[in-house]
């Protein structure tokens, strides 16, 4: 090809940053090695060295090149035979340039994966076709969704070892889809590959005639990732005030999201002073319009005092300006995080002090269950409330990766202790004072609610006398796929036929109604639980026995529901296996013997004087 054209083409290529994750033996290194080799990014001298080293490290098959040696950079790691950090690789095709963040799949290295994922637009999850979806797959998928990656390629590797069996591939696909239902992974691409043999990596395999989709490289080349970028909200953290002489005063920074045009109305934060964009300056000349991620210098029409670390935004579209917010943190330090610890926080080009007000819960990355904890240890993920000494200007991470993210720095060791993703700003009650714990915060909120509760002329006692029972919530929970719904409906009917006030609410009814405005995923689960709790409080106040179902309720959720139901009680029935660790449910039902389930529940309701004995 003509070299001039080649260079012009290279200059104008798009860029895709992606993350690769997998377990040690998934063949991840082999896959990357093959991408690099087939796209001619491994040079002859590196290859010669590699062959020599493959022999040295005692690899079984000397003729076969061990690509993983090419990728493992550091001596200590090489001796251990594992990659223990994030390594960046580069390759390009005629259409795109790629930057790979290569991260290990080891249990203790959640932090590395979060690091690699933070700058990636796409992730490749490798699954060994023989093993299917394993614990690590779940963990990786969760971290990828937590870090806001919208595109995921699921490469089912080692297809050669399962005879390129289609059913095998379909089963893995189904299993993966099932467990990622509650994760926010918008675009999933499943590809059967063999990294070792090269099937469907770069070239289409003739072994998988049943697969009609794109190869791995074709997918990487064609995925549109710019549509996941935020061009709506203009955010411009000022890094440097450019003042070479008295005639020029500009604010230099990177447009982290959004678009800006000459003449746009600007607001400076935190001063909230306004002006208009007079010029968008770059060394290559002024621009009429600039967009993320361009680095520019803005000149305003009016003299406004803005320093490094402050922010320029559109006057009509302002981010949250707050001292207190809720966030997920990935803990990365040996020293554990405890409530009331203080840190430096680095966010959108400014550093200030931060305090952990509340450690609300820890997330088990394998089961996605929330658990109560007094501390977060290395590689654990938790939800916290943080307050800062100076306000930050931010958006929720789900809307804006750049202004929704931060790192915490240990003020003594200066180590980067955590990566954080902001959920939302906290105002009024949340922000005033430091609540010792999430329980304490919820308790005071419920106290306040009860204190202000406006009761009609019919009291709960009046209702209980007429109904011969008190209002009460019966929650059925357990793994999905058990016959909870059937039991719940029969229970409602049984109670009703006994002249008791009972009401069954299907989980789907909440989803498509009350919860219509929030997605049914991990991130919004807390809000869903809050709504369900408040709803239970209202319905039980009307004297009803409120029967409902919620899958996957764990210790953290149940504590919260109990508090929200106060002063009425919550009666918990588990069907089959539940997610409870410490919490003891009132009734355990075996999946196999549900015939007598309703009578069992009735019996216990009666024993607990919830319903009169004669109803049995």
């Amino acid at each position: 090809m003509d070299i001039d054209n080649f260079l012009n083409q290279h200059e104008n290529k798009g860029l895709l940053r992606f993350l690769t994750s997998g377990s040690v033996d998934d063949g991840k290194s082999t896959l990357i090695g093959r991408l690099l080799y087939d796209s001619k990014m491994i040079y002859e001298d590196q290859l010669a060295k590699l062959k020599e080293e493959s022999k040295k490290s005692g690899n079984k098959d000397v003729k076969q090149i061990d690509y993983s040696l090419l990728l493992d950079g550091l001596k200590a790691e090489r001796e251990q035979g594992i990659t223990i950090d994030v390594a960046y690789r580069y390759f390009s095709t005629p259409n795109r340039k790629f930057i790979i963040a290569d991260t290990p799949g080891h249990e203790q290295y959640t932090r590395n994966m979060a690091t690699g994922a933070s700058t990636a637009d796409l992730a490749i999850i490798l699954i060994d076709a023989r093993k299917g979806v394993i614990t690590q797959t779940r963990r990786h998928a969760f971290i990828i969704s937590l870090l806001g990656i919208k595109h995921v390629i699921v490469a089912v590797n080692k297809m050669d070892l399962v005879d390129y069996n289609e059913q095998n591939f379909l089963d893995i696909m189904q299993e993966f889809n099932q467990f990622t239902e509650q994760l926010d992974l918008q675009h999933k691409y499943f590809i059967p590959v063999s990294a070792l043999k090269g099937d469907n990596v770069v070239d289409r395999s003739d072994q998988t005639g049943w697969y009609q989709g794109l190869t791995l490289l074709e997918t990487l080349e064609s995925v549109n990732v710019t549509n996941a970028r935020n061009f709506r909200d203009f955010r411009f953290p000022v890094q440097w005030v450019n003042r070479p002489n008295l005639d020029f005063r500009g604010f230099s920074g990177t447009i982290v999201s959004g678009v800006v045009k000459q003449g746009d109305a600007m607001m400076a934060l935190p001063s909230r002073r306004t002006s208009r964009v007079a010029r968008i300056v770059t060394a290559d000349g002024d621009l009429a319009e600039a967009f993320a991620p361009q680095a520019v210098t803005l000149v305003l029409e009016d003299e406004i005092d803005i320093s490094s670390g402050e922010m320029l935004v559109h006057a009509s579209n302002v981010p949250a300006v707050a001292n207190s917010f809720e966030a997920y943190v990935v803990w990365m330090d040996e020293k554990e995080l405890k409530p009331a610890d203080t840190f430096l926080i680095r966010h959108a080009g400014r550093t200030t002090r931060a305090r952990i007000d509340t450690l609300k819960y820890q997330v088990d990355v394998n089961t996605l269950q929330k658990g109560k904890t007094g501390a977060l240890r290395l590689n654990e993920i938790g939800n916290v409330n943080i307050s800062t000494t100076r306000p930050l200007f931010f958006d929720p991470y789900s809307k804006n990766r750049e202004t929704g993210s931060f790192v915490l720095i240990d003020p003594v060791t200066n180590k980067t202790a955590a990566a954080g993703m902001i959920v939302e700003a906290l105002f009024d009650d949340h922000a005033t004072g430091f609540a010792e714990s999430e329980e304490r915060r919820l308790e005071s909120q419920v106290e306040k609610r009860e204190f202000l509760w406006d009761t009609g002329m019919v009291t709960p006692l009046d209702r209980a006398r007429r109904n011969h029972h008190r209002g009460k919530t019966v929650l059925l929970t357990g793994a999905a796929g058990t016959r909870k719904r059937e039991v719940a409906k029969k229970l409602e009917k049984r109670l009703f036929d006994s002249n008791l006030q009972a009401y069954y609410l299907g989980a789907g009814n909440v989803q498509s109604g009350l919860d219509y405005d929030i997605p049914q995923d991990f991130a919004t689960r807390d809000e869903h639980v809050r709504r369900l709790g408040e709803l239970a409080r209202i319905i039980t106040d009307s004297g009803q026995i409120f029967i409902t179902i919620d899958d996957g309720v764990g210790d953290y959720d149940i504590e919260k529901l109990k508090r929200l139901c106060y002063p009425n009680e919550l009666f918990v029935v588990t069907v089959g296996e539940s997610f409870f660790k410490d919490f003891e449910a009132d009734v355990h039902l075996q999946e196999q013997s549900l015939e007598n389930a309703v009578e069992e529940i009735m019996q216990i309701l009666s024993e607990n004087s919830i319903i009169p004995e004669y109803c049995i």
Binding site: I3, D4, L7, H10, E11, N12, K13, L15, K40, Y43, E44, D45, E53, G73, L74, K75, A76, V86, A87, Y88, Y90, S92, K97, R111, A114, S118, N224, T226, N227, R229, F231, Q239, W240, N242, R243, P244, G250, S252, T254, V256, V281, T282, A283, D284, F291, A292, P293, Q294, A295, G309, R346, H347, T351, E402, S405, F406, V407, N414, T416, A419
Partner: protein
């Protein structure tokens, strides 16, 4: 497709400018290590763009091993004068007076004294808390994991186990007095990107990168240029004129030339795509042992 697409090269440029500005906002006394090579030339251009129309708000520092190619020094002085850049030069005086050279001391010891030690002296004298370097992650295996902000202790040492995770564009520049950070703004560029950018921006580079007839001798499979009369010839070695160019520039007795006809950037890139030898293969010090670059990094070398 959205209309807001930035080409990969412009994205890299924007990222580098972001890093340069970030470091200037976080550190009190940064300096840019200027090696005269093509990567340095690109880094200087990026700094000029980052602070335009202002001046680059830090000095350039060249560590002179005293064995650089003459053309490099000529280029350096002309380039800095023309671009109006503040240049500081440091060399290891003791080493120079003791006549430390690559022939008697061997490449390893010589590099330690005249490059690594010289660099550490200069950093101590200047009390810099941040030093920009033009290293790229695609150059060498151990660099693939290097951070953009690479933390160094009081002894300028790099500890692979004690590097800070880097997320999003939030770089942690917190250090105690005496400690420092090496900042690599072009970490994510590849060799091809560098050439492409030089071509696009018309950035001046040392003529040694272009093929020309030069006096060379064959030594250990490399063409070594006889740049001045300090070059010691082994028995049976006679300099011969050959069309050669250099893919990287360092100390002339330790930098191998490749035979080439490429006298334009386009031809260099064309050759690069064909030859399939990695850039650092012409560096003698890299072959000292499998982890030699990593070892040097631990000791404070770039």
């Amino acid at each position: 497709m959205t209309q807001y697409n930035l080409s990969q090269l412009r994205q890299l440029e924007a990222e580098s400018i972001h890093i340069l500005r970030d470091a200037v906002s976080q550190f009190e006394n940064p300096v840019m290590l200027y090696s005269i090579g093509k990567d340095s030339s690109v880094m200087v251009r990026l700094a000029q763009k980052a602070f335009y129309p202002g001046r680059v708000p830090f000095n350039l520092l060249h560590i002179n091993s005293t064995w650089k190619f003459r053309e490099m020094i000529e280029f350096r002085d002309a380039f800095c004068a023309e671009q109006n850049l503040e240049l500081l030069v440091h060399y290891n005086k003791e080493g120079f007076e003791a006549k430390v050279n690559p022939f008697d001391y061997g490449s390893r010891k010589y590099t330690d004294i005249m490059k690594t030690q010289a660099l550490l002296q200069a950093l101590n004298i200047g009390r810099y808390d941040c030093a920009f370097g033009g290293a790229r992650r695609d150059e060498e295996k151990s660099r693939a994991k290097e951070r953009i902000y690479s933390f160094r202790d009081q002894h300028h040492q790099w500890d692979p186990k004690n590097q800070r995770p880097e997320l999003w564009g939030h770089y942690n520049g917190k250090i105690n007095p005496g400690e420092s950070v090496r900042c690599f703004p072009i970490s994510n560029w590849t060799e091809l990107d560098v050439w492409q950018y030089i071509r696009l921006e018309g950035i001046p580079i040392v003529p040694l990168y272009f093929a020309k007839e030069r006096p060379v001798v064959q030594r250990d499979g490399q063409w070594i240029m006889v740049d001045d009369d300090r070059m010691r010839l082994n028995e049976g070695e006679t300099p011969q004129n050959r069309m050669v160019r250099f893919r990287t520039l360092g100390c002339y007795p330790l930098t191998g030339a490749v035979e080439s006809e490429a006298d334009t950037i386009e031809k260099i890139v064309a050759e690069m795509m064909e030859t399939r030898e990695s850039e650092r293969s012409t560096r003698v010090i890299d072959h000292d042992g499998d982890s030699s670059m990593e070892q040097k990094k631990r000791e404070g070398y770039f």
